[in-house]
Amino acid sequence: MSSEFNIGRKNKNNSSDFPNPFARVTDTTCRECHHKIKREKLVEELQVCPECGFHMPMHPYDRIATLVDEGSFTEFSQELTSLNPISISGYEEKLTQARGKAGLNDAVVTGIGSIDGRQTVLGVMSFQFMGGSMGSVVGEKITRAILKGADEGLPVTLVTASGGARMQEGIFSLMQMAKTSNAAALLDGLGIPLFIVLTHPTTGGVTASFAMLGDVSIAEPGALIGFAGQRVIEGTLKEKLPEGFQKSEFQLKKGFVDMIVPRAEMRKTLSFLLKTHESESKGWMSR
């Protein structure tokens, strides 16, 4: 477990001691264009490759730092950890490894923060933690986050990154799709907005549940967004994939995302959405 991570963990309910943004970032070679990038440059660019524009996966705490007002974030449900519901051998060890590697208890961080003074519940997934897969903990934390918004009348913003369901939890992981989608239905019934930010990659059971249920859906450029895996489509069905298949730009053209927003403008965009969805504007209307 890295020392940067411990800073965050120790002071988990004390937002002023939020872990240093990008403390975990190191010199990196871009996976897309193989350009070498110094740590300082990468931090400055919010982990976007200055050469090819690839938006690299981010640690949830780093992402949160780029989105919320400084010191405004309070995490909740941080101590939630997984059991082994279908008794898969090796799952506990895998979880322990992932915790150490990602510096998180599971694949999502949830809390409340504000953007330009407007509060939102915020859930940010981590692709580093077992491929961002959704098991009982991710399902429960996303559900709690959405219901927290419902309960407190706060907009909910979820930043997705996931390979899909966590197969090690068998049928229980499938059910998290229903659980998170039901939470979205309840939020919808109260007329409270759900904003979804789709980042690279968002696939499988997360795409087929809450990730596609945003009132407004924003994608980062070049993110892979889809349900079926590309290898399944190519392999099993021998279909040739069209150019740019399942990328953000493809999903925009196909009508499934509202806009593509570069990481550097994400905060500003969310701020505008929070402003234009404010509940004061309801005043004139009886429900």
Binding site: T81, S82, I86, L147, M175, Q176, N182, S209, I233
Partner: protein
């Protein structure tokens, strides 16, 4: 009295009846099926669940309904033959039926895309469910698919979005929903018409987050180890029932439902009628609250080493106090 004792008693009666030339063998077969021990072999169940002769959605609808009219189309793009639906009456009660549709031979399967539905199939399902809601008709769904179609066109038309919207809207649909997994219940494609008040699995059906083959190839790194994967994943009706995820198991005759479709159809019909009696006495709010709570409780987590359920008091806010 355990099952094997019942079985031998039934055999005795059968022999007697045959001697006396009394034709009660069908009734006895049913009795026998009801008390037959389940096969212990997981892979056998997987194969039975996929058996091409196994009764499909339209078979059950025809066996259960007095009358049935099929309704077509999603009103946006097309009519998906892999997902069917319509209005039927059971003992006079109007019910909206929705289900994956597989074929019994190659020709039918090509026409039905092997029960792999496209986005327009899920959108048709939702349209019919919302039509049922509008007219206060209960909904019965039959789940029978290896999964949603994993193809380029399905992705282009938003298969993920279509399933997600169904999960959301079925979970708060203001009319009773009863689901039956009649064969293979595969992944999001199964769940896409599987969020319900009551869900049952047929004795030889399976329900899983990914096919045993997929699990084997990803987690066991060998697609050939599907048999082993099926055991590990715990996909049988008996496993899933034990997890508390379904409300019960519908019996089949020994050897599988294809041997006596009418028997299983009758069991399904009885279950529908019994459940409708209970569900139709509830208000829409009660239905949705129960449905939401049931979904909400599925999952195994702990917090500070204690098992938790935390409802945030939200249900009161959403549903009022009724």
């Amino acid at each position: 009295m355990d099952e094997s004792v019942i079985q031998s008693k039934i055999e005795e009666i059968k022999v007697l009846a045959e001697k006396e030339n009394i034709n009660i063998s069908k009734e006895l077969d049913h009795l026998k099926a009801k008390y037959a021990p389940s096969s212990e072999d997981t892979w056998e169940k997987v194969l039975l669940a996929r058996n091409i002769d196994r009764p499909n959605t339209l078979d059950y609808i025809n066996l259960i309904c007095d009358d049935f009219v099929e309704l077509h189309g999603d009103r946006h793009f097309g009519d998906d033959p892999a997902m069917i639906g319509g209005i039927g009456t059971i003992n006079g009660q109007a019910v909206t039926f929705i289900g994956h549709q597989r074929g019994h031979n190659m020709k039918e399967n090509i026409e039905r895309n092997y029960g792999w539905a496209y986005p327009e199939g899920y959108r048709k399902a939702l349209r019919l469910a919302e039509q049922a809601e509008k007219f206060h008709r209960p909904v019965v769904t039959f789940i029978d698919t290896a999964g949603a179609y994993p193809g380029v066109n399905a992705e282009e038309r938003g298969i993920g979005e279509a399933i997600a919207v169904n999960l959301k809207k079925f979970s708060v649909l203001k009319t009773p929903i009863i689901s039956f997994i009649i064969g293979e219940g595969g992944s999001g494609g199964a769940l896409g018409i599987g969020v319900s008040d009551k869900i049952y699995m047929l004795e030889n059906s399976i329900y899983s987050v990914i096919s045993p083959e997929g699990f084997a190839s990803i987690l066991l790194r060998d697609a050939e180890r599907a048999k082993e994967a099926a055991e590990i994943m715990k996909v049988t009706a008996q496993d899933v029932d034990e997890f508390g995820i379904v409300h019960g198991i519908i019996p089949e005759v020994p050897g599988g439902a294809q041997i006596d479709p009418a028997f299983t159809a009758e069991e399904i019909k009885k279950t529908i009628l019994k459940d409708l009696k209970a569900l139709m006495s509830k208000t829409p709010n009660q239905l949705i609250r129960y449905r939401s709570k049931k979904i909400r409780e599925i999952g195994h987590v702990n917090e500070n080493n204690a098992k938790v359920q935390d409802l945030f008091g939200i249900f009161g806010k959403v549903f009022g106090r009724s």
